[in-house]
Each structure stands twice: as C-alpha cells, then as structure tokens.
C-alpha cells in the first residue's frame, strides 16, 4: 500500500511540475507498433495504474497470435475469432459501446496488425471518435530497429490515424546488449518519419528497461503484486533485489510518462 501511495505522489508532483491539462471524458488508447516493442507491457502497466487511480477501463485484446493481456487481466474483451471480418466487427462493436456507455479503453491489436490500418482508415477513426466525445490516443512503440518506422509511417499516412494525443515511446528494453540506449536510438530519432510525426506535435517518451521483467511475466503477476512479492500459490518467491528493481522501474515509468499521464489515466 505504501508503494502505491508513493508512486501516486510521484506522478502528481510530476504533473504539477510539467503543467498540462486534464483530459476528461472517455478515451480510446491504441497501442501501435510491430511485435515485441512493448505494447502489451505498456497496457498492463497503464491499465493497472488507471485502476489504482479509481478508473475501470476496458481492456481490449485483439492480438491474434499472442494475447498477453488476456492472461494478466480478468474480463478482457476479445474478438470472437482471428478472422479479419470478425476482428473488424468486434472493433466496431467496441467503439459503438464506448460511445454509448462512455468508458475508456486500452486496445492492443498485436504487432503490426493490418486490420487496424484499414479499419482506422475506413472509419476516419480519429475525427469520428472526437465527434462522439471520445478522445483518441495513439501510442506508438519503437525499438532501435528502423523498420519499426514503417508501421508508424503507415498509421500516419495510410490509416490517417493522427490524433492530437499521439505519443511515441522509445523502448529501452529493446536496446541490444552492450549498446548505449542514446546511440542506439539515434538513427530512429533522426529519421524523417520520426521527425515529421514529432513536428506535428507528438510527444516522445522513454520506456525504461526492467531487467527482471521475465520474473513478472512468467508468474503472470500484476506489477504491484510483483513489487509486493505477492506471488500465487505454488510459485517461487520474488527476491528483495528484484522487488526493488520493480519498484524503481515503476517510479521511473511514472516520471517518463508524466507528460502523457492525462491521456492514459
């Protein structure tokens, strides 16, 4: 409980320092990017954080190959099948319900999903949502691989999903061993695709690495439970060192994402 209070205090101080507006009303937070860039980890962290703040977001897991969110949360919204048409109908239903019932949602469609591009384009998703009082939030995840920028470019240029609330996350967890993060990401931040999205107003945040993330993943724990050492029956314990690393990572995540906190809370 003390850790929850401390993490909340950190984000409140950061918000007051950086001074940004509160975003009211429901929002659709869409995690975008190729596989293994941190989308699901982010949603796990953000959704858990939103719940700690008293929100009850819907978690929509459309990942057809690796539905990570489904194993970490109960009541996750899933498409009836992996077929493209079923996924599109499911997305339509999600948005219909969101507009009607005014809830916020986190959406993960899996790495480089093509359905999302056509669906967002056909619906003119951003303006459509805004017109119905739902704030669209695009959160793009990039590794140090320049190929990740292809998906970013396509979402912006092909799907035309370019909401004002756009964040680009540089995931330090993807930096190859032995390389410094800053130099590894230099080609990415200097690329014209990246620069053009930033120049239209996208925020850039850093997602810190957590060395013991696997300890949490394999136990299928929430980040809070992992920090508290609250493992499930039959699971081996998480040692004090890893719990400290988890605690520090969570605080660092709060600081890193403070500039976009109103979009994801």
């Amino acid at each position: 409980m003390a850790n929850k209070r401390e993490n909340l205090a950190v984000v409140e101080d950061d918000i007051s320092e950086r001074g940004h507006e509160t975003v009211e009303g429901p929002r659709l937070v869409v995690a975008l990017g190729r596989g293994k860039t941190g989308k699901s980890t982010f949603i796990r962290w953000a959704a858990e954080r939103a719940m700690e703040h008293g929100s009850r977001p819907v978690i929509a897991d459309g990942d057809r190959t690796n539905p990570t969110l489904t194993v970490h949360f109960t009541g996750v919204d899933r498409p009836p099948s992996a077929e493209d048409d079923d996924v599109k109908q499911w997305l339509n239903g999600l948005v219909d319900r969101q507009i009607e019932d005014r809830f916020s949602a986190f959406l993960d469609l899996g790495g480089g999903d093509l359905v999302l591009k056509t669906w967002a384009r056909d619906l003119d998703l951003g303006p459509f949502l805004e017109g119905h009082g739902v704030t669209p939030v695009a959160v793009h995840f990039l590794s140090t691989d320049l190929d990740d920028l292809t998906y970013l470019r396509d979402i912006e240029a092909v799907a035309k999903f370019r909401p004002a609330s756009t964040a680009i996350v540089l995931n330090e967890g993807t930096v190859p061993a032995g390389r410094a993060a800053a130099s590894a990401f230099e080609p990415v931040i200097n690329h014209e695709v990246f620069r053009s999205v930033v120049s239209r107003g996208a925020r850039v945040v850093r997602m810190p690495r957590l060395a013991c993330m696997q300890e949490i993943d394999r136990r299928r724990l929430s980040f809070q439970d992992a920090e508290d050492g609250a493992v499930k029956p039959g699971q081996d314990k998480i040692g004090p060192v890893n719990r400290q690393l988890i605690s520090l990572w969570r605080r660092e995540m709060e600081r890193s994402f403070a500039t976009v906190a109103p979009w994801i809370t």
Partner: protein, 139 residues
Amino acid sequence: MASDKDVLRAIDNAESLRARSTLATWMRKNHDGFLERLTERVADWGVLCGLFNDAGLTDRYGHPPKPETARKMWLRIRREVAADRARRVQRRQSPQSVQTTQPVTASRVAPPKEEPGGDVLRVMEEMSAKGNRITKPLE
C-alpha cells in the same frame, strides 16, 4: 490509518464554506489548509467526497463529486494556484510586464506542447544520463 476528523474539522471551520459553494471554489479558497492536511495524511478520495457531499460541495453541474473527479479537480486547482502565485511573483519583479490571465478549463485537448524536439532532447538526455560514462582517472 489516518483519521478524517481533521478534514471534517477543517470543513466546519472554513469560513468560506457556503451551501452553494462548488467544490472547486472551496479547494481554491482553502488550498493551503487542504494541501497541508493531504501532505500529512493519505488522501482517501472516496471518504473525502462523502464529506464534500455532506458539506454541500458539488461539481460544476451541481452533482456530488466522484472520487476521480475530485482528485483531478484538486490537481487542476493546485496547478492553477501555483501558476497564479508564480505570476504574482513575476509581476512584483517586473511591474511593467503585461499580465494576462486565462481561465483554465478542463478540456479534451492534448497537453501544451513543448518546442518540436524538446521531448526528444529531454529523452535523449535521460538515456545518456543512465548510460555508462567513461570517467577520468583521479590525478
């Protein structure tokens, strides 16, 4: 567990408390006292909203405040008060500067943007700060 009696006492003693006051007005006028109490104790917004409701403090639509609404309202009031105080300090230091005040309204727009590249510079500096540095040997 922190007692909320002090908060009740603060509400009872607040001279600005009126039957028709909105919660935001109350928070602004009792900013320092409320902040002091929140610093001393953990904010249980569910309990606080019950107290606010009992005291007739509402949101701008006249409805009893919900915990998340009250919490976000408090964050907004804190920023506004901090900004007001900073402007007053600036006004005292440069009396000829033109001061404009803009009402801060909750909206759905994105956070105020830094200069293009401001985020990038900050992020890269953070990455560099965490990276290994070659240190000079002591002479």
